[in-house]
Amino acid sequence: MSGTGHASLTIIEPPAEQFQHDAHDVAGDLTHRRVLRKALGSYDAAFKKAKGRFLDHDDAKRRAARIKRDAVEHLSDYLEEFERNVHRNGGQVHWAQTADEATQIILSIAKNAGVTHVVKSKSMATEEIHLNDSFEKAGIEPIETDLGEYICQLRGEPPYHFVTPVMHLTKRDIADTFEEKLHIERTEVAEELTMIAREKLRDAFTTSLMGVTGGNFLVADVGMIAITENEGNARLCFSLPDIHVALVGIEKVLPRMADLALFWPLLATSGTGQHLTCYNSLIGGPRQGAETDGPREFHVILMDNGRTRLLADPEQRDAAQCIRCGACLNVCPIFKNVGGHTYGTTYQGPIGAVITPHLRGLKEWKHLPYASSLCGNCTEVCPVKIDIHHHLLHHRRNAVAQGLNTWTERLSFQMWRLGMKSVLAYRLVGAMSRIGQFFYRLFWLDQGWLPTPIDGWTKSRDLPEIASQSFRDWWRKEGSSL
C-alpha cells in the first residue's frame, strides 16, 4: 500500500501495544518525516503571520478562554437556551447520550425520508461514532465531500489529523489513490486532483436528499450552529438537500452570536494560519417563509458520548473548552515523531491524550498521557488556555492511584523509594551497579541487551556509564580541601 506514516495494517490489542508498534514504525519512516516537516513548516509560517494581525493575541486568548469557561461552567443553562431558540426557528433538537443513540437518531431520520445516499461535510463527531459504517450497514451510501475526507474515504483510512485529514500524503499518494479508485487518467497536479474531486462530487450534492454536517459552535442566544470551512462543501451540504442533520458535541456552546467576532478569527489563526477561513456560516433552521431555497427539515443532535465524564472532573474540566483547532498537534514533538494514525483515536495529539481517557476510559488509553515530553508547547499555543500538559500529568497520577499501572512500574518505584530513603541501600545500589556494569559491558554491550522487563531502555539507547567513583566518595576524599 502506498502512502506514509499510517498505522500498520496489523491490528494489535490492547491499544497501548498498537501505539508502541506503530510509533516505532512511523518514527523511522524518513519519507513520512519529510512530508510532515513540510506541512508543519508551512502551517507554522502561516500561523505566525495570522497571529501577528491580532493587536494582542495573548489578550484575545484570555478573552476567548473566559467566554468558553463561562459556557462550560453554565453548560446546562446554555444548552436549554440553545434548544428553545432552535425550536423557535422551526428546527428540531435531539439528545444522544451515547454513540449508539446518536447513530439511531440519524438513521431513523434517513430511513423516514427514504434517502439512498447522504452528502457529508467534515465532522469529527461523526468520525467519533463511526457513522459511515452504520450508514453502509443500513444500505445508505455516505459520501464525504471535504477533499481531505474524500481522499480518506477512498483509501479506507481514518483522518490523520482532525483538522488536516491527509497531512501525511504526497501528491503522488493521492494520484495513486485517484487512479486506482476513480479509474481516471493519472495526474499529480494538486489543482487537477482538486478539480477531479469537485466534478465527481457535483452530482452527489444536487441529488442527495440529506446532508450531514458537524458544527464548530452551538450559539445559544440565537439557536444557531456555526460551521467554519474553506471549500464550500459544508455550505452545499446544508443548502441543497431537503434535510440537514448536524451532529454536535454538547460542549461546543458559545453564549452569544457576538462572540463569533473573536472565535472565528481565533479558530482560523490557530487551525490553518488564516485570518478568517473562507466560509463562516450560521445555520438556524429550515428555510423560512419567504426564502427561496434550503432544506425543509433541520435537525441538531446534541451528543454527550462521554463528555459529561470530562465535565465531572473539576481538575480537567477546562479541556471541555477545546474548539478543535488542532494547534496543539502541530507544535507537539511527539505528534511530529509518531504521526496522527498512531494515536488510534478520533482526536489525536495532546488534546486527544487528555480527552480520550475520559471519552473511552483511562484503563485502555492511559498510555496516551505518557506519550509526551511535557514540554508545554501545547498549553502555550492553546487559544482557549487549556492546561493541557498538566492534565497529562493528572492522568498519570490518576492511573497510578487507580492501580492501573504495570507491576514492573510499581516495583521499580518501590525499589527507587527504598533506595532514596536509606543511605545504606543507596550506597549498596551504587556499589552493585558498578560491579554489574563491569559484567554487562564485558558480555552484553554489543547486543545492547538488558533483561526483561527493563529492556525497553536499551532498545533505542545506550546504557549510560556509571562513574567509577560516587560523588559521596569523591567528596569524602577531595571535597573537604576545597
Binding site: 493587536l55 478573552r63 469557561r69 439528545w95 501528491k171 469537485r198 464550500g232 465535565l311
Partner: protein, 225 residues
C-alpha cells in the same frame, strides 16, 4: 426516548458542574477592551480601500462603479468575458432590475421563490448584508438571496452599495441582528475570498467546491434603495 435522554444528559451536566473547578491564574488577568485588530477609520473611503486591499489579496476581484450606467457597462463586459451563451442568474430580486434588465445572458430571477437550477448557471449574482473592511469579508443571508446562488455556481458576483461597508466583523454581526430583530435569516455566511483548499500538500487551490471567482461590484451609497 429522546426526552429521557435530554433529562439524563442535563442532569449529568448539572451533577458534574456541582463540583466547583479551581480558578486558573489567567482568570485574574485584566482584559483590554476594544477591537482585536487594527481597524480602518469608520469612513466610507477608508473602509472601501481596506476592503479592496483585503479582498484582492485573497484573489477576490473588485470594481467600484461611479454610477449605475458605469455599473451596467462593467456588467456587460463581464458577461461578454464568459463563454458564449453562458447563463448568469441573479438572486438579487427586484432591486437589481434597473441594473440588470436588458443585459445579455443575465437572467434576473423574479419573483423570489421560483425554482431555479443553479447548477446550470455560469455565474450567480447576489446582494449582500454587509462588507467587512478589516478582513475583506462579504456577509450574505438566505433571507436576501437564498442559499444556493452564492455557493453553487463557479462564479459569485456580489452587488453591494458603499453604505454597506462596515469596519469589522463585530459590526457586521450586530447589523444583522438590528436588521432582523424578530427572526434572523435561516442561514448567514461570511465569505472571505473564493472557495479554497490546501488539503493536498498545503498547495493552495481555488474553487474547491464553491466559486472559483468572487467579484464585488460596489455601487454608490443608496443606489439600490
Amino acid at each position: 426516548m429522546s426526552d429521557a435522554s435530554r433529562e439524563a444528559i442535563l442532569n449529568c451536566v448539572r451533577r458534574a458542574l456541582s463540583a466547583p473547578s479551581e480558578k486558573p491564574a489567567w482568570l485574574g488577568h485584566p482584559e483590554t477592551p476594544g477591537p482585536f485588530f487594527s481597524l480602518p477609520e469608520p469612513t466610507i473611503s477608508a473602509c472601501r480601500d481596506r476592503f479592496r486591499e483585503e479582498l484582492t489579496s485573497l484573489f477576490g476581484e473588485f470594481h467600484e462603479a461611479k454610477s449605475m450606467a458605469d455599473a451596467r457597462t462593467w456588467l456587460a463586459t463581464f458577461s461578454q468575458s464568459l463563454p458564449p451563451s453562458s447563463k448568469i442568474l441573479s438572486a438579487g430580486g427586484a432591486s437589481l432590475d434597473p441594473l440588470l434588465t436588458g443585459l445579455e445572458n443575465i437572467v434576473p430571477i423574479n419573483p423570489a421563490g421560483s425554482s431555479v437550477d443553479w447548477a446550470k448557471a455560469a455565474a450567480g449574482i447576489t446582494l449582500c448584508e454587509s462588507l467587512v473592511a478589516e478582513s475583506g469579508t462579504i456577509a450574505v443571508s438566505a433571507a436576501q438571496t437564498g442559499r444556493a446562488g452564492s455557493i453553487l455556481p463557479p462564479i459569485h458576483l456580489v452587488v453591494a452599495t458603499a453604505d454597506q461597508l462596515v469596519p469589522d466583523l463585530d459590526t457586521s454581526l450586530a447589523r444583522l441582528r438590528e436588521r432582523y430583530p424578530d427572526a434572523l435569516p435561516s442561514t448567514m455566511s461570511w465569505i472571505t475570498g473564493p472557495s479554497r483548499t490546501g488539503d493536498i500538500e498545503k498547495i493552495l487551490v481555488l474553487g474547491a467546491h464553491g466559486p472559483k471567482r468572487l467579484l464585488v461590484l460596489l455601487l454608490p451609497a443608496g443606489s439600490l434603495d
